[in-house]
């Protein structure tokens, strides 16, 4: 597992990307450690900031030669609004790389990358790696609206098998990614599906992939206080190799999980058979 570094990173690039912002950070030592699916935890404000908790973002690209990593983020609340105000030359404190990245196939494989909104961010570097290893990729990129799609051009630079969906039909097929997904899986005879996006989408993609006998790996987005595995806020019910379900930390054991091991329907509850549930009844 790649050891994370904590560094003060200079913002060396900023650009709008549809509904999102792309931010390039010079973060010495980090890029060479990054694998697709890793995330970065960005501190909001300086040493006196009233926003104590770091914000997590998928690492979109890592360039070891330039010592840069970049992220694509939406303005979702007060922390990301603060980040959106920063300019080239400003700096932010980052901890990266964090988390368990996407497992790479051992042999060349036909992979389908499925993403919702900025969930596509980690997918392009992953797809390039799979292609470089002799595999092939297709993309199904979805979003609520055309401007919330991210990286269709990057996908097209890797493969011509790109399907786009929007909820409102403003670009591509109207509807959710799961609409065209079965057809794509059959057409490319997919061996593996990689997915990143909202929980409901990941659950649905896992179902479709399983029906098509494809492996499925999902990157989840849970609220995280620490991002480094010490606080236990980011847990999801996941079935272990021993068949026992546990609340596991999505910041260290994830964010990339085998989708078939995550108990999607039980997230946000205490399933009766989760390890240690009995002890909760006592008090």
């Amino acid at each position: 597992m790649a050891l994370p570094l904590q560094v003060q990173a200079e913002i060396v690039g900023r650009e709008p990307a549809g509904a999102y912002h792309r931010m390039v950070l010079r973060a010495p030592g980090i890029a060479a450690r990054v694998e697709p699916g890793h995330f970065v935890a960005v501190a909001i404000g300086g040493a006196d900031s009233a926003m104590l908790l770091r914000r997590a973002f998928s690492i979109h690209r890592a360039d070891p030669a330039a010592e840069t990593i970049d992220v694509v983020f939406a303005e979702a609340g007060r922390g990301t609004r603060e980040l959106a105000r920063l300019r080239v030359g400003d700096s932010v404190n980052v901890v990266a790389p964090l988390g368990t990245p996407f497992p790479l196939p051992a042999e060349p494989v036909s992979a389908v990358m499925v993403a919702g909104g900025y969930g596509s961010a980690p997918m392009f570097a992953l797809a390039e790696k799979i292609v470089a290893d002799g595999g092939s990729v297709a993309f199904v990129l979805g979003a609520a609206t055309a401007e919330r799609l991210y990286g269709v051009d990057q996908a097209l630079a890797i493969t011509e098998d790109v399907v786009v969906t929007t909820d409102d039909g403003s670009e591509g097929v109207r509807g959710f990614v799961t609409g065209p997904l079965p057809e794509v899986l059959t057409a490319v005879q997919a061996g593996v599906v990689y997915a990143c996006g909202p929980m409901g989408m990941l659950r649905a993609v896992t179902e479709v992939a399983t029906e098509h006998d494809a492996r499925v790996f999902t990157a989840v987005e849970e609220s995280m206080a620490c991002g480094v595995g010490v606080c236990m806020t980011c847990v999801l019910p996941v079935v272990g190799d021993d068949g026992v379900s546990r609340f596991v930390r999505s910041c260290v054991d994830g964010p990339c999980f085998d989708g078939t091991k995550v108990r999607w329907d039980d997230a946000g509850t205490i399933p009766a058979d989760i390890e240690g549930a009995a002890a909760m009844g006592a008090h």
Binding site: A43, S223, A225, V230, C231, M232, C234, G268, A279, H283
Partner: protein
């Protein structure tokens, strides 16, 4: 005050500080940061707060566990415990609410897997324990006898007492006394027992006194304050557990007040003088110094670790510099200095 670090107290730059009377400088320009918790001597006063550093392993990617005074573990219970449903946290101004529900692997897995790792890494471990019954605390304490690297037991009495309709032990002097007395009796005599106090009480001095009378070798204070946040979009509580514990710099003035009150009661002779481990929103060396001036002999760094994973070692360095800048020759000379 002319040797060692150059006698800052005599220096014009230090004129703003009310210099303490006696200081002992160590050869080589060091300052004695050692601190005593009962029979345990820690090389320095900075520890991690329970629940904010796991069992030490994750943070070892950011600093050596042996570099700080001790690692206080996440509270351990007798059996594996799932913890509460998510969402388990909400960020608040200069702080956060948590509602983890003491998720953990249980004492057996902890003793077999986590404790040896920390000990092998040279870390000193203060094990935080909790249970629903006094008997649980006793069983946990006995299980820790002879375990490697354990330099203290912190009894987290801010947990619900099953026998008393779930009222937390720490809310009542009698139930606090019962737990601490039982843990003290069951523990290895050479291992200090700390009582972790809740600030959500009418008189923290009364609870502290009961714990000291029960044989506590030290007091850890404070645990989180109960709070809640309502999401104005969904118009429901943010936390699945509805309420949660407030921590972080937002609670620091409350925590400093608690430490000051209890230390004052000790100086007054209302209870025996035992070391206090102060915590609540410590972010810098100066914050740590505030607790020490109020009467703490050691400090714990909690929520701020989430902001800065290497905060404990940074705070230790800053504290050392702050003590030296004020002309203190040892940590001990600064403990309770605000009471003079």
């Amino acid at each position: 005050m002319t040797d060692g670090y150059g006698g800052f107290a005599d220096n014009d730059d230090a004129g703003d500080f009310d210099a303490p009377p006696s200081t002992i400088m160590l050869p080589g320009g060091g300052i004695d940061l050692a601190t005593r918790l009962g029979s345990t001597l820690l090389p320095n006063p900075v520890t991690t707060a329970s629940g904010c550093a796991g069992y030490g392993k994750e943070l070892a990617k950011f600093f050596e566990p042996a570099a700080i005074g001790a690692v206080v573990t996440k509270t351990i219970m007798p059996y594996p415990r799932s913890g509460r449903a998510t969402p388990r946290m909400a960020e608040t101004p200069s702080g956060m609410l948590n509602s983890i529900g003491l998720q953990g692997p249980g004492i057996d897995a902890f003793v077999e897997r986590d404790l040896p790792w920390l000990a092998a890494r040279g870390g000193r471990t203060i094990v935080s324990i909790a249970g629903g019954h006094v008997d649980d605390f006793v069983a946990l304490t006995e299980r820790l006898k002879g375990a490697p690297g354990v330099v203290g037991i912190e009894a987290n009495i801010s947990c619900p007492n099953v026998a008393n309709r779930g009222q937390v032990f720490a809310c009542n002097p009698a139930t606090s006394y019962d737990v601490i007395r039982a843990v003290r009796d069951a523990a290895d005599p050479l291992v200090p027992v700390l009582a972790k106090l809740s600030p959500d009480v009418t008189s923290i001095v009364d609870i502290a006194r009961a714990c000291v009378e029960a044989g506590a070798d030290g007091l850890s204070m404070i645990n989180t304050l109960l709070g809640m946040v309502i999401d104005t979009d969904t118009m429901k509580p943010v936390l699945a557990g509805v309420t949660g514990g407030l921590s972080g710099p937002a609670v620091r003035p409350v925590a400093v007040r608690c430490v000051h009150q209890v230390h004052a009661a000790m100086l007054d002779g209302q209870m025996a003088r035992v070391p206090i481990v102060g915590m609540g929103g410590i972010r810098t060396g100066l914050d740590a110094l505030e607790f020490i001036l109020a009467g703490a002999a050691a400090v714990s760094v909690g929520t701020v670790i989430f902001n800065d994973p290497s905060a404990p070692v940074r705070i230790l360095d800053e504290l050392r510099a702050a003590l030296i800048a004020r002309g203190f020759g040892s940590l001990e000379a600064a403990i309770g200095y605000a009471h003079r």
